[in-house]
């Protein structure tokens, strides 16, 4: 596999070959040192373009991407992504299509506008937020983004945000999707030859793979004048990154987007065929590898209802799963079989598919997760695919308790918490009560069941607005008219 860095700046890039588990080219620490010494100037240049011109360059990349996708030019990359992620071809196609959405002008504008106090204009000037009080948002970078591999959307969102907020941006995608993410930004090389705005934006972006034991990565984390590190992932990488960043004399701010999961919350009365359909779609979408994907469904009602729902979901999974066929290894299948048996022996009802191309599992549990007390969990939550546990609980309070305890439940270890609740209620009158209680469960999003993976530009990410990672807010007060200021 040949992994080359991408940087379309005028000075080019000096790289060396790295041989190891993965062979790739990485920019040298000396190059980064020189490059980052000009970061302030580069960021000023980018800022000087103005927000709309920066966004236009990004949008141009989006248009090119969509044209290439529709013309079939990305077939090779799609095949590679299918192999690396294990997703179906149809899923990978959708993922690449979503990438085009992220780069759309209107979406980028909404993302920034909703994420910053003072909106996108605050990137250009002081914006009055109260009589006589103003804020401006300035680039806080240079930024290093270490991105995830479950979808190409998560690497694109922080990278685009960092760029349009005028930051020098070093993006280190996951090995899984490195070549695809690089390909999204590759047209910058051509655009930079003719379009000055693209050249300036290209100057601010470097994409490179860096292995976990790379000396260059160590330099960036521990020594380089980096101001923001945004890490997407869990352990053990997170601790390694955190320990390194602490040593950096430039005191970068570290933002971690850790692994999370989703929980569907369903009242018994709403558990009908339409709901089963939506739940099955949620399970097949990205094979539950998103932080929003429901891996547990909490049914507020009796166990019998949960078994009925599981059977209904299974019918839809037969149908959707046969469209989104995946390939599994014999070792994974054996681990899945072991897990299914372990849960069965622990008292769970297990409904399974016998199709190796659609290896779904629905576990029905009473009152608590059937993983509770299990010593052997041969597939952890990250390795499981199309695996849903439906737990029947008597009340929403029990459900909230279950959500809170999920990261400590065997079988769900490795997640920081629950990001998304996918909610379905038959009686909308209980909505207020449910929302009040769920807001105490530590979750970040509550969305309609069936829409977990859909994200609007107005949404925060894991409880945070991403533009705030990459900006520092400057406050200016003209006067305090008629108010006694507190000290």
């Amino acid at each position: 596999m040949s992994l080359e860095p991408l940087h379309s700046g005028a000075g080019g890039l000096t790289s060396t070959s790295v041989e190891g588990q993965v062979s790739y080219l990485e920019p040298t620490a000396e190059w980064f040192s020189k490059y980052l010494s000009n970061a302030e100037k580069t960021q000023e240049g980018l800022r000087g373009l103005g927000f709309r011109r920066r966004v236009k360059v990004v949008a141009e990349l989006g248009k090119i991407w969509m044209e290439r996708l529709e013309s079939g030019a990305l077939e090779g990359l799609m095949t590679e992504l299918v192999r690396n992620t294990g997703y179906s071809s149809a899923m990978v196609y959708n993922d690449l299509r979503f990438a085009g959405e992220v780069l759309k002008e209107s979406n980028v504008e909404s993302l920034i506008d909703s994420g910053l106090v003072g909106g996108w204009r605050s990137l250009e000037e002081f914006v009055e937020v109260a009589p006589g009080e103003f804020v401006a948002n300035l680039p806080a970078g240079p930024a290093l983004i270490i991105a995830s591999g479950n979808s190409i959307v998560p690497p694109l969102i922080p990278a685009v945000t960092a760029l349009v907020t005028s930051n020098v941006t070093i993006l280190r995608p996951s090995l899984t999707n490195y070549r695809v993410v690089r390909e999204v930004f590759k047209p910058l090389e051509d655009l930079a030859r003719d379009i000055e705005d693209a050249r300036i934006l290209g100057e601010a972006l470097t994409i490179t793979y860096l292995s976990h034991n790379s000396k260059v990565l160590e330099y960036l984390l521990k020594e380089a004048p980096i101001r923001i590190v945004n890490y997407w992932g869990g352990e053990p990488g997170r601790s390694v990154i955190a320990r390194s960043v602490v040593e950096n004399p430039h005191k970068p701010r570290l933002y971690v987007n850790g692994p999370l999961t989703g929980v569907a919350v369903v009242d018994g009365a709403s558990a009908d065929s339409r709901l089963a359909d939506a739940l099955a779609r949620e399970v097949v979408t990205y094979d539950q590898q998103l932080c929003s994907s429901p891996t547990v469904a909490c049914l507020i009602g009796d166990y019998g209802r949960a078994v009925e729902l599981a059977k209904e979901v299974s019918k839809y999974l037969d149908s959707y799963g046969s469209i989104h066929r995946i390939e599994v290894s014999e070792g994974w299948m054996f681990s899945l079989t072991t897990l299914r048996k372990a849960l069965e022996l622990n008292g769970a009802k297990v409904i399974r598919s016998s199709s190796p191309e659609n290896p779904y599992t629905i576990v029905v549990s009473k009152g608590k997760s059937s993983f509770t007390g299990l010593n052997l969990v041969p597939l952890n939550i990250h390795s499981r695919r199309r695996f849903l546990e439906i737990i029947a609980v008597p009340t929403i309070d029990e459900c909230v308790k279950l959500i809170k305890e999920l990261p400590k439940t065997p079988g769900y270890a490795g997640i920081d918490g629950v990001q998304t609740v996918a909610l379905s209620l038959a009686d909308s009158r209980s909505k207020v009560e449910y929302l009040r209680k769920l807001s105490m469960a530590g979750v970040h999003r509550i969305v309609p069941l069936g829409e977990s993976y859909l994200r609007t530009p107005y949404e925060p990410y894991d409880g945070e607005y991403i533009p705030r990672y990459f900006t520092r807010t400057l406050y200016f007060r003209e006067r305090l008219a008629g108010i006694n200021a507190s000290t």
Binding site: Q21, N84, L175, T176, P236, H382, P410
Partner: protein
Amino acid sequence: MVLNLGSELPPIEEIYASAQKSMFLNDPHVKRLWELSGDVGLFNKSPEYLRSLRRSLLRDSLKFFAEHSSFYAELLERLEIDPKGAELEDLAKLAVPSDMLRGEEYRRFLISDLDTEGIVFSSSGTTNNTPVRVYRSHLELAMMTRANTNLFEYVYGSRLEEGRGLALFLAAKELRNTLNFVAFVDLALQGKKIKLLYGMDLVSTTSDGSQWQKLVPSKDVIMEFFKSREEPKLLFTAPAGVHLLTKQFDGMNALKKTLSRLVAGIPPVDLGSGGVIVTGGGSKGFADLPPYGTIVENARKYFKARGRDGREVPTPFMDVLGMTETLTALIDRYGVMNKIPHPLQEVFLLDPKTYEVIEEPGKEGILGIYDPLAVSWLEVFLPGDLMKFVESERYYGREYIYVRRLTKDEGWDLQRACGGTLEELMRGRTVTQ
């Protein structure tokens, strides 16, 4: 329940006496199993007859377990298995991977009113630090000894005469208290009143401040066996044991060989009329062992045997595939027959992707074993091996060929969901939490 676990394997007479007192012998199903475990006539039955017998035993067995354990009653209900109509496919549903029997996990599979006097066998720890452990009551040990002895003699080609011959096990005597294969050989030979020598000693040693136990060869005992004029001589060992002995003989120069012949009469080692080498236990951590056929051919240069008529024959080699969790073994005889199970043991292969039962010869499948003679727990499990079968004229109708251990990767090595970064750090980590 409280198990009265012995730390030492009792003598066979004691086991038989204790087995006779088991209350389960009043149960018609178990009484039938007891009788069948010692029935040599089973080896003359047709494959169809035995298939039907096994099906009948399976149904009675499931009924027995449902009656003696709410755990099994509920499990059968959840799996929608009706004991009266149980088929081979239901065994596939019930089979548990052996990994689920590690540590103390075996206890959850035991019925509530079992015979509490028994012993717990452990795996050697070759494939995992936490061994697979299985409880055996005295009644089960007695049935195990009877059934395995009959199977052994079928594959060996004749009955072992009581009190005739000498056996050497290249293992330490203490291992018969924990290792199934060693215990089965020990008990079977006790039953035949054939003297068994143990060719290894378990020696305590201190290293890095910790107490360790290691196996060292007991040269005097090995030489006693080599020099003995008793026949037949039966050598039991892991394949690595006979391979290392062969290499030692290979390494002797001409002078050393001549001197050794003059002093001890070896090499070659004369195993006598009916002599045999019985291997078992797999590679035991020796990664560079040659293929089994090569081990056999090399060893035959130094280990000689004669047939009943006194004429030299290629030294017979038998290999035992017996796990901790299987009460009866599968045994082959090199060049004569592939691995064959006891007539009562149900061996089945599952497609590695669909987990459906394979009925085509030559197709590789995940090995599943059901042994109805185990009455303390429902012994149906997947040890994690791939095998295939060939059709056979013998009583079982099939013979089995070992292919390999299953490789247990996680799949999508580079993909760690939201935690999909710094992947190399994640590699090689165990997924068991």
